[in-house]
């Protein structure tokens, strides 16, 4: 909301600096978005009157003017505009003047003739967006007057953000009320002065309310023989200062009174109302109205209209109808001032996506007791500015009286909530200054009656806030509370997940953070299995490719790999939720997943690394295993067939048949499609499942005092034999003497038959009881060899 300081001072004449006022409003809860002083830079620009216009002898497009600025000789000014005539008053910048933006006007020669200043357009003074020609001033503008005064530029415009609970602030009187309470200066309301004729309004019109729950109060006045005309300068300037465009005197007055009182009014062309009467009712199903914005709107039975005897003439409290609009031919006016139910206005305004000024005021709750003052204020202005005869009496229907609430304040509760003792008298006085009155009171508590404009106050806490606000949040001390816990635990994963994050960072991976939106098309394109397409769908997505919530982090990692495809090395991970709808629950499951992607060079291009090894499957498997081992999670790995992966380089990690995650090489076909490095490896782990697995116990194992002995063995086995089977076949060999098996080489190539591979194993033997003899070790080695021969047809090399 834009607030002009000059205008505000008409209601409450405080004398504080702009900065102090801005600070005070801020600390009362009125958020200042900006402060503008429109005329701040303008200097030496006055109201001038054009006395003479002659063609410029040397330039077709210029004229030579004589302009009187009320003092000294008239100035000779060269001008390029065409819209002025002799006798017009225009803003005139003299030699040495400054215009917005710091432009300095100086006397200079233009095509051989001297110009002693400049006549200005609206745009040059920044009062209009753009201008064609000079700004022609009102004929009454006083000659020689400072243009800032005439155009209202000696003002300060505050842009204020009003919180939704304080509809009452959204007006000049509302703001003045707040400031008058703070500064303890009385509020000055304008004089209402008009004359009524003998004939009563009720003799030619009537108001009927069919839906008192939606419209508790409706008041109308009839004014005849008005003269529609442009608004006078002062009124137009005020509307412009609020960012509005003047239309005609009647409409402008209703808008002005809205700004002044916060109470929306509407003027109908009385003669366009069938039977000249008003019926406030709910619309009939399918009934239509063309609103002032030209839209034909179809209504339903939950929407309130202001109708005449036959059809709707306004969407109640939101926008008038085109059929009864006040226009240049209007002679008689029906003026409306009402109190509408906020919820009904809000619903209808949202339904039609029509959150007009009026709707915004009504949905925050207007002041039901302002209804008659506002209508009389407008009537007074109409008679003053548009003439007309006011018919006697207000047609004031008030079937559902809005009762003032009362709220109790226990003085000692203020300290309990705020944390500081505030004097009882101070508490009481503040509330009274804000327009509350006392219903009952004693030493310990007061029962206050809430003013009709304060819809936000219904609890003791609301009163305490008022006291704290006026006391000053800055004067409330800063203390540290004692912090206690009930013993309940609300999250067990946060720290563990963060440990995993730290581990990965220390392993050289970089963490990504993606939007969690996705779409089914990308999942299909990437060949994800069917179950990943069961997604949480947004009803109002930002775009088609952000239309669902993700079911996997992998697409995000691939997008990141694509984006960064010029990098040598991509080693990234992301931790975050995926969203899996379930049959039985309203809300989806949201397991935390960890996605890892490795692509490109495994080592940096650095003097100490001779070759640039490319990442392979085992780089990624190693990282994943380190995570699981760090957490002491028991797991198994199996070949898998995840369709996104290379069929020969794809595995899953399981614990007791529960899949914990997958690791694989990106299928080269997909890599080609996405135009990313073919050597791309991806893993996705379900952290929720992993953190649910009971970790292996950490228990001390005796460290032997006796020396250990090592033996190496190289065997030839079938190329397709998984090495893990060799390991598991040797689990029970050696009666505890076999302490460790190392796999130190796997070889395929020229030295061995093409369907075989050489596997080199290192065995470490040790006992806790004695030093093992060669014989003992030999016999275990024999056992190992015969096991390998029997099970795998292994040849000893």
């Amino acid at each position: 909301m834009k607030i002009s300081l000059n205008w505000l001072k008409e209601y409450c004449n405080f004398s504080v600096s702009v900065n102090e006022l801005a600070e005070r409003m801020t600390m009362l809860g009125l958020e200042i978005e900006s402060i503008e002083e429109p005329g701040k830079e303008i200097e030496n620009v006055f109201v001038g009157k054009i006395l003479d216009i002659q063609p410029h002898p040397q330039a077709d497009k210029l004229v030579v003017c004589k302009t009187d600025i009320g003092k000294g000789e008239p100035l000779q000014i060269i001008c390029g505009a065409k819209n002025m005539k002799v006798g017009d008053k225009v803003p005139t910048a003299i030699d040495g003047a400054i215009l917005p933006g710091g432009f300095r006007i100086t006397r200079r020669k233009m095509r051989g003739i001297e110009s002693f200043g400049m006549m200005c357009s609206g745009a040059e003074l920044k009062v209009e967006e753009d201008s064609e020609g000079l700004l022609i001033l009102h004929p009454d503008a006083p000659l020689g007057e400072d243009i800032k005064k005439v155009l209202g530029l000696d003002d300060v415009i505050f842009e204020i953000e009003i919180t939704p609970n304080r509809g009452d602030w959204a007006s000049y009187i509302g703001l003045a009320r707040e400031l008058s309470a703070y500064y303890d200066i009385p509020i000055t309301l304008p004089q209402i002065k008009f004359s009524e004729i003998e004939k009563t309004a009720s003799s030619i019109s009537s108001v009927t309310i069919d839906c008192p729950d939606f419209c508790p109060r409706y008041a109308g006045r009839v004014i005849q023989n008005v003269k529609i005309a442009p608004s006078p300068d002062w009124l137009a300037r005020k509307l412009i200062s609020a960012g509005q465009r003047p239309i005609n005197n009647i409409v402008d007055i209703t808008n002005f009174v809205l700004l002044e009182t916060g109470h929306p009014l509407h003027a109908f062309d009385f003669d366009k109302l069938n039977e000249n009467r008003i019926v406030v009712r709910l619309a009939k199903e399918g009934e239509q109205i063309r609103t002032l914005d030209g839209e034909l709107r179809t209504l339903n039975t939950s929407q309130m209209v202001i109708a005449d005897a036959i059809k709707p003439q306004a969407l109640a409290g939101i926008m008038g109808g085109a059929d009864s609009e006040v226009d240049d031919n209007t002679v008689n006016v029906f003026l409306e001032s009402a109190y509408f139910d906020p919820v009904s206005i809000r619903r209808t305004a949202r339904f039609h996506n029509l959150l007009t000024e009026a709707a915004q005021h009504f949905q925050r709750g207007a002041d039901p007791e302002m209804v008659t003052w506002a209508i009389d204020r407008a009537t007074s202005l109409i008679q003053e500015l548009a003439g007309g005869k006011v018919l006697k009496g207000i047609l004031d229907e008030y079937p559902k009286k809005i009762q003032r609430k009362n709220v109790k304040l226990r003085y000692e509760r203020t300290k309990k909530r705020i944390g500081i003792e505030i004097d009882k008298d101070f508490q009481r006085t503040i509330i009274l200054k804000l327009g509350f009155s006392v219903k009952e009171e004693n030493e310990k508590e007061v029962d206050f009656i809430v003013p009709s404009w304060r819809h936000d106050v219904s609890l003791e806490e609301d009163l305490i806030e008022e006291i704290a606000r006026f006391y000053g949040y800055d004067k409330i001390p800063n203390t540290l509370p004692k912090i206690r816990q009930s013993g309940a635990v609300f999250d067990t994963a946060f720290k563990k997940v963060n440990d995993i994050r730290t581990l990965l960072v220390h392993k050289g991976l970089t963490e990504c953070y993606s939007w969690t939106f996705s779409n089914p098309e990308i999942m299909q394109q990437l060949n994800f299995p069917e179950n990943y397409l069961n997604m949480v769908v947004l009803q109002n997505p930002l775009s088609k490719n952000l239309s669902t919530m993700r079911t996997s982090i992998i697409p995000d990692l691939l997008t990141t790999a694509q984006k960064n495809h010029l990098e040598d090395t991509i080693s990234i991970f992301e931790i975050g939720p995926v969203f899996l709808p379930t049959e039985q629950n309203l809300l989806p499951d949201e397991p935390q997943k960890l996605g890892i992607l490795l692509s490109g060079s495994a080592n940096p291009r650095l003097w100490c690394y001779n070759d640039r090894k490319q990442f392979d499957f085992f780089d990624l498997k190693g990282i994943v295993e380190d995570i699981l081992n760090e957490l002491y999670i028991p797991y198994r790995v199996e070949k898998s067939d995840f369709p996104l992966f290379h069929p020969g380089q794809s595995m899953k990690i399981t614990n007791q048949n529960e899949e914990l995650g997958i690791v694989g090489k990106l299928n080269p076909k997909i890599a080609h499609e996405l135009e990313i490095n073919e050597n791309t490896y991806i893993s996705e782990l379900n952290l929720n499942k992993i953190l649910c697995v009971t970790p292996k116990k950490k228990i001390y194992k005796t460290i032997s005092e006796f020396p250990s002995t090592s033996r190496d063995l190289a065997i030839l086995v079938d190329r397709s034999l998984p090495v893990s089977e060799i390991f598991s076949s040797l689990k029970s060999v050696g009666e505890g003497m076999l302490q460790k098996i190392e796999l130190f080489d796997v070889y395929t190539g020229e030295q061995v038959p093409h369907d075989k591979k050489s596997v080199a194993l290192g065995f470490t033997f040790c006992s806790n009881e004695k030093t093992l003899t060669d014989n003992e070790i030999d016999s275990v080695m024999k056992e190992i060899i015969s096991t390998l021969q029997k099970k795998f047809n292994a040849h000893i090399r």
Partner: protein, 338 residues
């Protein structure tokens, strides 16, 4: 024979003197003192001497043996010293060459900041709570005193999933989930993603918030101010000014917004703070009695405060990141800066 020994001695000492490496000294030792060494050879012939000469020659031989041994030892020290010195000189490296590393990775800046902030609050005694991102309207709005027709819903620009289900617009619904689970005292912080239908240079449809909730018998607005001031001083530095302005949130009363002195201009006024010297960073207040009513807490007995702020904004301020969109763009050139 004595003569022979003397000759051997002179010869040996000469050789020792000239020896330039420990290897040569070892050869000399073997040559003269070893099992088949020259001195030993002489001593073997001792048997051919007269018995009365034997002791004399023997003792001279031992004497010479000792002299040679001592000289070798002496020379050994000198040569060794020289050799080590040479080795040391040879082993000079350019210590400015970069170390051998694959490089550390980078935690996302949001999580770095999230960790720092949670650390501050955990140290004070809060614990972390989390909740679902797809949330019911009941928890996101209704139970927080924001019924369906409340104008405050307008500012939230909600993503809808299906009737009664939304993407949470703030981390506040976790307040209610926590209070439903336990009686007071409660002291939690809630970090997490939140969503609003908004996407431009300064808004992202997904962003991160941190919520705080403290409920106990004597929690006051002054405690709220003190807690947040402590946090700001820890996170932004002790010289950061803080101010609280009255504001409105449906779920707190009294409510406030907290500003800090601009981190760029230190309060003098610049483009970042729109020349006000202040940056708005946080909303807070005392828990509204209606919220307690939904939680089943006794408003006469218990009081609480709640606050919420944007983690992304904190990160942007702390690291002078100009646009929120950089945070979610996953450009490695950005991620690797932090």
């Amino acid at each position: 024979m004595i003569k022979d020994l003397e000759q051997i001695k002179e010869f040996a000492l000469q050789k020792i003197k000239e020896a330039e490496s420990t290897d040569i000294l070892e050869q000399i030792r073997v040559e003269f003192l070893g099992k088949k060494g020259k001195i030993t050879e002489v001593l073997k012939k001792l048997g051919s001497l007269l018995p009365e000469e034997r002791p004399k020659v023997g003792s001279i031989a031992n004497e010479i043996k000792e002299i040679i041994t001592n000289n070798i030892q002496k020379q050994y020290q000198i040569v060794l010293e020289k050799e080590l010195q040479k080795k040391i000189e040879k082993e000079q490296i350019d210590i400015t060459l970069p170390g051998r590393t694959y490089g550390n990775g980078h935690m996302h800046v949001i999580n770095q900041v999230m960790n720092e902030i949670t650390g501050i609050f955990i140290q004070m005694g809060f614990q972390v709570a989390t909740g679902p991102e797809v949330e019911t309207e009941y928890y996101n709005f209704e139970s927080l005193n924001t019924p369906e027709d409340h104008p405050a819903r307008d500012v939230h620009d909600t993503f809808y999933i299906k009737p009664g289900v939304v993407l949470r617009t703030h981390t506040s619904p976790v307040q209610m989930r926590v209070m439903e689970k336990t009686k007071p005292p409660v002291a939690v912080i809630v970090p997490g993603r939140v969503y609003r239908v908004d996407n431009d240079a300064s808004h992202s449809p997904m962003f991160n918030q941190m919520e705080g909730l403290l409920v106990d018998e004597d929690v006051t607005f002054a405690d709220l101010k003190g807690t947040l001031m402590y946090f700001v001083h820890k996170f932004f530095g002790e010289d950061t000014a803080v101010r609280f302005r009255p504001h409105y949130f449906p779920f707190t009363e009294p409510s406030a917004e907290m500003d800090i002195s601009c981190t760029v201009c230190k309060g003098k006024g610049c483009r970042v703070c729109k020349h006000s010297g202040w940056l708005e960073i946080l909303g807070c207040g005392m828990v509204h009695p209606k919220v307690f009513q939904y939680a089943g807490y006794d408003n006469e007995k218990y009081q609480g405060y709640a606050f919420g702020f944007g983690i992304d904004r904190m990160a942007m301020l702390k690291f002078a990141i100009p646009s929120i969109n950089l945070l979610f763009d996953n450009n490695l050139k950005f991620l690797e800066q932090f």
